[in-house]
């Protein structure tokens, strides 16, 4: 006990110094900014200082001990494991994307907030303490021991690699985006710089190094998230608690403004309506073009192109000369005209959808399941609940999270550590909806109605940097900004918050460092999961059980390098649909692991046949539904009960349970030894069982 508590004291002191040191570093960078150091240099400073820091921690934690390498020596105290799990968990999507999703979708985006936190109840109540008592190294380890034989273990390895790999690509993508945006490096170079950062952490010290870097990364990411939001809240409401002020002060005003925008009798509503009318005309024009294309084919295309060319020629010849702007627009129309029928169909289809979206009235932020009619609302509600369930069950089945609970010193600490994990995750997740409301308040009350001649600085800055994040055009040419004239990309919300709150650039650098910490820490955990599944489960447990320690670690480190390079290569090809990949990983993990893991603890009768059947059925149905219905795969079969492909797990998870139950009942009960293992797992300590096993 005394050894343990002095270790904890030591950790607190280290991380206390570390946090102080980091704050000091931010202040020094702030001073440099005041001395006139250019922003790009500040970006480099943040990028390299933090990666260097993580590398330092990784280097100090280097190890050649198997238990240290795979499970950090099983001596990570609950609070620190909580921080590490928090960083492991919160990815670039949580840090940068979530507030943007909430800004765009209001209530319906809360599926992610609830799904990605409520899953921890399942981890705490159904899995973490039991996996800790089992106390091996990986999740396939548990499947292998509980169900016997190599087949359950092998399916586990396959599923772990499948969902971790899809997820890690999204993380490395995030790393590339952040490094390239804040340093001006090219995307591909950004990916490999980030990768170097990931590898130095995990390569030398495995889980031990990853754990202590993740704690450091959590501290950076939570500071980076909180500081700008608190500041923004003070600026707008005078209350330094955004989680309260957003609901009591900002939301009522946002709701009142939404009503005003939707009511053509008010001045603001009337100008919104004027813009919407223009968008409706554009949508109608695009629809007419599409219809003309269907009827006239290539001939129609040629006709339209000639009409545009003639108009351009007329404008050029006009006396007196027309405005430069009008001429530019006409030239652009000719230059960007679709070159064949397929391109035209796509371009006009997209234009029609975009214009229709812009011509719709403003959706109330707090309204749940908004839709045209009752049928639409029911469909939205069903998909909301299905997504929440898939995200929750997926949370409780992602191997890189479950693996973290092998690292605590005891079952008792494992239980506490799930509490700390969720607490640290909660800090960010209950702030994100507040941030979305505060930014919406700023946009609705300050940006809308301002003059195009005097846009707020953050708007013109971001519009100049990246049109996908911020685009603003005076559609109805009245010189005043209307809501329908603004297009905001989701990632902008978090990235621009420091500027909206009027904070110096150093805080923007801090936010970038936070986003990088979120992406790196998650990528670390995922890569380690994949490498361990291959080196421990496949190589050591199945190919060469007599391999000496050194060779096992060499195998693991080599595989880590290979997997990391493969992932970075795949990422540099920029596969689309990152958000879908992330969502898919949850459905896949939930359907493959959750039933076999939970029934493995709570139902002694579950056996190998059942586990194999359940995992294959769950995984198979989930993959089948995604491939059949997700547009990316090009089959586009009708949906089952209107459920979106991202929630495919809603079919896979129950079938997984059914598979385990039916398969087990149709074959003999598991052996005495396996039933004893279940008892061993259920009780933190059975007297006479041999203390050493639970150590």
């Amino acid at each position: 006990m005394s050894g343990n508590s002095s270790f904890q004291r030591q950790l607190r002191r280290y991380y206390g110094f570390y946090t102080g040191g980091f704050v000091l570093f931010v202040i020094v960078v702030g001073l440099l900014e005041m001395l006139g150091v250019p922003n790009r240099m500040l970006g480099y400073l943040f990028l390299f200082a933090t990666i260097f820091l993580y590398a330092g921690i990784g280097f100090m934690s280097k190890t050649a001990d198997v238990s240290e390498y795979y499970v950090a020596g099983r001596r990570v105290p609950a609070v620190f494991n909580g921080m590490a799990t928090g960083a492991d968990w919160m990815s670039a999507a949580s840090f940068i994307g979530m507030a943007g999703t909430l800004y765009a979708t209001g209530y319906d985006g809360l599926a992610f907030v609830m799904g990605w936190t409520g899953g921890y109840c399942l981890v705490a109540l159904l899995l973490a303490p039991y996996l800790r008592k089992f106390g091996q190294f990986t999740i396939p380890d548990f499947l292998g021991a509980r169900y016997g034989g190599n087949i359950p273990r092998l399916i586990g390895v396959f599923a772990a690699i499948l969902c971790s790999f899809t997820y890690v690509i999204a993380q490395i993508y995030g790393v590339g985006i952040i490094t390239s945006r804040f340093t001006g490096l090219e995307f591909t170079i950004g990916v490999f710089v980030g990768l170097a950062g990931i590898l130095v952490c995990s390569f030398l010290g495995g889980m031990k190094a990853v754990t202590w870097t993740q704690v450091a990364q959590y501290i950076i990411l939570i500071l980076a998230y909180m500081i700008p939001v608190v500041w923004l809240s003070v600026k707008h409401t005078g209350i330094p608690v955004p989680q309260i002020s957003a609901y009591t002060v900002a939301l009522p005003k946002v709701t009142a403004l939404e009503r005003e925008f939707n009511d053509p009798a008010t001045p603001k509503g009337a100008s919104e309506e004027a813009v919407r009318r223009i968008f409706r005309e554009r949508a109608a024009a695009a629809a007419a073009d599409l219809a003309g294309l269907e009827a006239g084919g290539e001939g129609y295309l040629e006709e339209r192109k000639q009409a545009l060319e003639i108009r351009l020629a007329e404008l050029r010849a006009a006396e007196p000369p027309v405005e430069e702007r009008v001429l530019d627009a006409a030239e652009r129309d000719v230059r960007n005209f679709p070159h064949d029928a397929e391109a035209a169909r796509q371009a006009w289809g997209a234009a029609r959808t975009a214009a229709l979206a812009k011509s719709a009235s403003v959706k109330a932020h707090a309204e749940a399941f908004a839709a045209e009619d009752e049928a639409g609302r029911i469909k939205a509600k069903k998909n909301f609940l299905a997504l929440v369930l898939c995200l929750m069950v997926g949370t409780a089945a992602l191997p890189h999270i479950l693996m973290r609970f092998y690292t605590t010193p005891s079952v008792r600490e494992a239980r506490r550590s799930v509490f700390w994990s969720l607490f640290f995750i909660f800090l960010l997740y209950f702030t994100a909806p507040a941030l979305a409301i505060l930014v919406k308040f700023e946009v609705y009350s300050n940006l809308v109605g301002s003059a195009f001649a005097q846009l707020p600085a953050w708007v013109s800055n971001w519009a100049a940097v990246d049109k996908t994040l911020m685009a603003i055009n005076d559609i109805n040419r009245d010189g005043i900004v209307q809501l329908a004239e603004i297009t905001i990309g989701g990632d902008l919300i978090v990235l621009a918050t420091p500027e909206i709150a009027g904070l110096p650039y150093v805080i923007s650098g801090l936010v970038a460092a936070g986003g990088l910490a979120a992406a790196l820490s998650t990528a670390d955990g995922l890569l380690l999961t994949i490498a361990n599944a291959l080196s421990h489960d496949v190589y050591y447990k199945m190919i060469d059980p007599n391999a000496p320690t050194t060779r096992r670690l060499i195998a693991s480190k080599t595989l880590l390098l290979v997997v990391a390079l493969t992932a970075a290569y795949v990422t540099s090809l920029k596969p689309g649909n990152i958000l879908f990949l992330v969502g898919a990983a949850f459905s896949l993990a939930g359907a493959a692991f959750f039933p076999a893991l939970v029934l493995g603890v709570f139902w002694k009768r579950a056996n190998q046949t059942g586990a194999v059947l359940g995992m294959l059925l769950g995984l198979g149905v989930t993959i089948y539904y995604m491939v059949r219905t997700y547009p990316f795969f090009g089959i586009n079969e009708p949906l089952w009960w209107d459920i979106d492909p991202i929630s495919a797990g809603i079919f896979g998870i129950p079938l997984g349970f059914a598979g385990v139950i039916v398969g087990s009942l149709l074959s003999p009960a598991p052996s005495r030894g396996i039933q004893d293992l279940v008892d061993h797992v259920r009780y933190p300590s059975l007297k006479g069982e041999g203390r050493a096993r639970s150590g």
């Binding site: 409520g118 309204e367 059975l686």
Partner: protein
């Protein structure tokens, strides 16, 4: 080693605690979301349906896990299945 009746009772109490907390989890998540439109009519700290999804449910989750850890760690000692201090 064979399980005693005390052991079985410990496991039963664990199961009933787990089931109760899962029921609370289910209500806070799915039942509340199901009625989100109706709950939005009630305004406490913002519209209630929205508030529950954005904060209320999360607070319930944190409390569930906190209570479970506390209760189970006590139950271990009560039934003599706790781990030795190391």
């Amino acid at each position: 080693m064979p399980l005693t009746d005390r052991h079985r009772e410990y496991w039963r109490r664990n199961l009933s605690l787990t089931a109760t907390l899962l029921a609370i989890w289910f209500v806070a998540t799915f039942v509340v979301s199901w009625f989100a439109r109706e709950l939005n009519e009630i305004v406490l700290v913002g519209p209630l349906g929205f508030y529950m999804g954005a904060q209320g449910a999360l607070i319930v989750y944190v409390l569930i896990i906190w209570y479970y850890a506390r209760r189970m760690n006590r139950l271990d000692r009560e039934y003599g299945v706790e781990e030795e201090e190391d």
